[in-house]
Symmetry: C2
Subunit: 123 residues, 2 copies
DNA sequence: GTCGTTGCAAAGATTTTGCATTACC
DNA sequence: GGTAATGCAAAATCTTTGCAACGAC
């Protein structure tokens, strides 16, 4: 154990350099060498979400993934082969058109499924 | 216990008449009176997904929700107030534009957050 | 010494599975 | 009787929490 929050910094750095949101388990596996406990990772992630530094990404797979806030508006691609989540830049217009009157929209998520470049090539 | 698959029919009917996908727990609560076990519901849902009659909807909230397949292409709205999931008809064009080259798309989901008509009025 | 952070283990919540029982044919 | 479905309880996952110990100040 080093200085308090050292682990938090490591996790934040990992998330920032990642090409997509990571699950607690994915983070844990990346940091196995540091001897960090899974519970600590969950705690850091939870603090991050509460403080607004991180947010949750809801993707299929049974595990919640996390990413830093403050990224450019983006969406996610989930590769059906390697199961990785990848950030996609950009968005699409017209979302408000599919919501009934009297509904108010505060946010949205778009999730695309398919095969990423790596897995498309490997196939 | 009645005739085999009786429960399955009940669950399918419940999902078909629902205005949005339901979680195993939501189904269980609706059917408490029938004495059905939660495990049975999970089994029926799983069989439904495997047989192609049902599909999973991945919405935040820690519980997987299910809905019948064969519905018109649609997306989901999750009310931040009442936490209900509501089907939205329609879709938006241009999704393929946000995917990098060499990625192939096999499907997509759109999730909108906000306040449904009921909760907007109540506010 | 105090405060926040950590690791481990236990507890929770959701979902799955084992097994004996029951229902239908 | 044979096959499939069910209920209960135990197991498997993922996540959270309790608690004692550790590090920084």
């Amino acid at each position: 154990m080093r200085t308090p929050s050292k682990h938090a910094e490591t996790i934040y750095a990992l998330l920032k350099q990642s090409s997509g949101p990571l699950s607690a388990n994915e983070i844990w596996q990346s940091l196995q060498a540091s001897g960090i406990g899974l519970a600590t990772i969950y705690r850091i992630l939870k603090r991050g979400v509460e403080s607004g530094a991180l947010c949750e990404a809801n993707l299929p797979g049974g595990q919640t993934r996390y990413e830093p806030t403050g990224l450019k508006h983006h969406h996610h691609f989930l590769c059906s082969d390697c199961n990785r989540a990848i950030d996609l830049e950009g968005c699409v217009p017209g979302l408000e058109n599919i919501v009934p009157p009297n509904f108010s929209i505060t946010g949205h998520e778009i999730l695309l499924f398919g095969h990423c470049a790596d897995c498309s090539e490997a196939a």
